[in-house]
Symmetry: C2
Subunit: 362 residues, 2 copies
DNA sequence: CTGTTAGCGCCTTCAG
DNA sequence: CTGAAGGCGCTAACAG
C-alpha cells in the first residue's frame, strides 16, 4: 500500500509534523537543513507519494482550477487551453477541463459538479449570455474569471480580445481596398463577442461615411451551417455585396463552402470559383488551413495562447486574493472586494497571402 | 462555511451513518424510504454539498480519470476527448485532461503528478513509442488504457483505429482510379499508427502487383512542416509520383500548402494550382475544412468520438475489475490478470466531392 | 527548530 | 434498518 507521512517520519527518526513541513516548504516553518535532507532521503527510499486527498481535506484547497469550454473540438479554444495549462502548471496548479456542449443547462451541471470537487477557482467560457448561475457561485466565494465572452450582469472579471477593434480594422482594410458594399455575416447577438464585432464593423462604415445597408447585416449563429445558410440568402438577393466580414472562423468556413457550391463544381466542373459571384471575405481568427480558403483576403487573429496564459494568471491572483481576504476577515472582519477587471488583448490583422480567388482577382 | 454530513444528520434527526448511506446508495446498506426522504429534504434545505476530498480520502477513489494528450490543439484528439468526456460523465466519472506537449519527459511528469492526485485510472495517447514508464505505472496497479497509439513492450490495453486497413483502402482507391505511381508521405516511424499506415499502403501495392519505388516512401514527421518539406523533395525529384498518400491530416495540410506555393501564386498569379504538378492526394482523417483542400481526392476517416467513448468504457471496466480483484485477493489471495485487449475501430473511406484540382482534372 | 495533539468530513465495521 | 465509534493521511496550532 501507499506509504504515509508516518512511515517517512519513522524512517527518518522525526515527527510527522517535520515531514509535513519538509513536504510543504511554501507555507510552513523552516526546517534545519540536515533534518530536511534526512527526511527527503527517507521519503525517496520508501517511494513516498503525497496523498492529495488528505492534504486537500485539511487545507481546504486542491490546487486545481476548472476550465469549462462550450466545446472541446475547437481550434481557438484549445489554443486557449494550451495557454491556461502552461500557466497553471508553471504555478503548481492542475487544470480540470470540461465541456458544456454549448448548452447552458449542461454548463450549470458541470459547474456545480466541479464546485463540489473543491476546485480552487474556475475559468469559464460561457455557453450563453445569461450568467446568473455564474454570478451566484462567484458571490458565494468561488474565484472565477470569464474567458473570451462576457455575460450579462456586470460583476465578473474577464479576459478577452479587443473584438470591436478587430472587425473595425478588418472593415477598414476592405474599405481601403476600394470595397464599399460590405456585409457582416453571422453572429449570435446574445454573445458579447458577436455584438462587439458587429459594433466594430458599424464603426468602420460610419467612419468612412458609408450608410449601413440593413440587408447586409446577416446575423444568426456562430456555426459553419450558419455561414453556409446566410451566404446564400445574401448573394442571391437583388442587391448582393462585394465583400463580407465573417464573425468567426466557423461561419467563415461555411461561407467559403457556399461559394464553392455556388461555383457549380458539384455538377459541372470549371475554373475554381469561376461561376461564383466574385466576393471577398475578411474573417476573424486564423488557423493552419486559412491559406486554403479561396475567398479569404484578411484575417484578424487573436492571441489565443496569450489569452489562456493571462486568464491563468488572473485566476491565480484571485485565488490568492481570496486566501488573503479570508485571513483578513478572520482577523479584522474586513474584506474589501477588488474592483472588477476586464482585460482586453489586442488582435492583429493580416492580409491573406495565398487565397486563390483573391489572387486571381487582383 | 460548507455544511457537513453532521449538520444534515442533526437536522434530520438521524445519525451521520444514515446520511452517509443515503448519499452513497450504490455500495451501502438499504435505508428505510421514510428516513431517506427526511434526510434528502434536510440536505436540500441546508444546501448540503458533499466534500469529495473527504470521501476520496476514505474510499481511496476519486471517481476521476486522467487523460493525457500529446497536444490539445488538435481536431482529432479533441473529438476523442468529447467522446471520452461523455462516456465518463454518463457513468459518474470526471475527466482530468493534460497535455504532454509532445514530449516524453513532460509526459512522465504529468503522469506521475496525476498518479499522485489519486486518479482512478488513466487514458493515454502516448507522446512517443517508449512506454516503460507507462508499463511500470500499470504494473503497480494503475488501470490504464492507451488510445490511438500503441507502445513498445506488449502489456498495455489499447483502443485505436484500423490504421492498416485505412491506408490500404485509400491506396486501393487510387489504384482503381488508374494511378500507379503512388508515394507515401510523412510518418514518424517510431509511432505505431504511422507504421501501420505505411504497412497498409505497402500491402495495397503488393496486392496490385506493383513494385514499391523506394524514393516514394517519404517518411519523417507528423506535422504540417513535414508534409511541406517532403512534398518538395518528392516533386522536384527526377521521378515524381502522380498521387500521394498522406499519413495524417497535418502532413496533408503541409503537402497542399506546398502545392499551392509551387503553383506560383505567391509571385505571378494564374489558374488555381495551374502551374503546379498535377498531383492527387489521399489522406487520413477528415475535418470541416477538407473540402477546401484542392488536391484531396480521398479521405479515410476515423470515428474519433466513438474511439473516445470506447476508451472511456474500457477504462471504467478496468477500474472495476481492479476493485473486484482487490476484493478477491483479500479473500483468497488470487488475482487473475485479464488478458491484454486491443480494440480496433473501423475507418470509413470517402471520395472528396469538392476538391478543386481534383475536379478540374476529371 | 521540532514534537504533540486534535481534528478536516466522510465511510464502515460492529452492535443494537 | 439504524447508531456509535474509530480512523483515512495530512496540517496547524501550541508547546517545548
Amino acid at each position: 500500500m501507499g506509504k504515509t507521512i508516518r512511515d517517512v517520519a519513522d524512517a527518518a527518526g522525526v515527527s510527522t509534523a517535520t515531514v509535513s513541513r519538509v513536504m510543504a516548504p511554501e507555507n510552513s516553518r523552516p526546517v534545519a537543513n540536515k533534518t530536511r535532507l534526512r527526511v527527503m532521503a527517507a521519503a525517496e527510499k520508501l517511494g513516498y507519494r503525497m496523498n492529495h486527498a488528505a492534504r486537500s481535506l485539511k487545507r481546504r484547497s486542491t490546487m486545481t482550477v476548472a476550465v469549462v469550454f462550450p466545446e472541446l473540438a475547437n481550434d481557438f479554444y484549445m489554443d486557449v487551453a494550451e495557454g491556461i495549462e502552461r500557466e497553471l502548471n508553471d504555478r503548481g496548479y492542475t487544470m480540470l477541463m470540461a465541456s458544456s456542449l454549448n448548452s447552458i443547462e449542461e454548463e450549470k451541471k458541470r459547474i456545480s459538479m466541479l464546485a463540489d470537487r473543491m476546485v480552487d477557482g474556475m475559468l469559464i467560457i460561457p455557453a450563453g449570455s445569461r450568467g446568473d448561475h455564474l454570478q451566484a457561485l462567484a458571490n458565494r466565494g468561488m474565484p472565477m474569471v470569464l474567458v473570451d465572452r462576457l455575460v450579462e450582469g456586470a460583476g465578473l472579471d474577464a479576459v478577452t480580445s479587443d473584438n470591436e477593434e478587430g472587425t473595425f480594422l478588418l472593415t477598414k482594410a476592405l474599405l481601403a481596398d476600394g470595397f464599399k458594399r460590405i456585409a457582416f455575416v453571422g453572429g449570435e447577438i446574445t454573445l458579447s463577442a458577436a455584438r462587439e464585432r458587429l459594433s466594430g464593423f458599424a464603426r468602420a462604415l460610419a467612419d468612412a461615411g458609408i450608410r449601413q445597408e440593413p440587408s447586409w447585416i446577416c446575423l444568426g449563429g456562430m456555426e459553419v451551417e450558419d455561414g453556409y445558410r446566410l451566404t446564400r440568402t445574401l448573394l442571391e438577393s437583388q442587391n448582393p455585396p462585394e465583400a463580407m466580414v465573417a464573425v468567426n472562423l466557423l461561419v467563415h468556413l461555411g461561407m467559403e463552402r457556399r461559394l464553392l457550391d455556388m461555383s457549380g463544381f458539384g455538377s459541372r466542373g470549371g475554373a475554381f470559383y469561376g461561376a461564383a459571384p466574385r466576393v471577398v471575405i475578411a474573417g476573424f481568427d486564423e488557423a493552419r488551413y486559412t491559406p486554403f480558403l479561396p475567398a479569404c483576403r484578411y484575417t484578424a487573429s487573436q492571441d489565443a495562447v496569450g489569452m489562456g496564459r493571462r486568464a491563468g494568471q488572473r485566476i491565480i491572483e484571485k485565488i490568492q486574493e481570496k486566501k488573503a481576504g479570508r485571513f483578513e476577515s478572520e482577523f479584522s472582519g474586513k474584506w474589501t472586494r477588488a474592483a472588477r477587471q476586464i482585460i482586453r488583448l489586442p488582435v492583429t490583422i493580416s492580409r491573406s497571402e495565398s487565397g486563390a480567388a483573391n489572387k486571381a482577382a487582383s
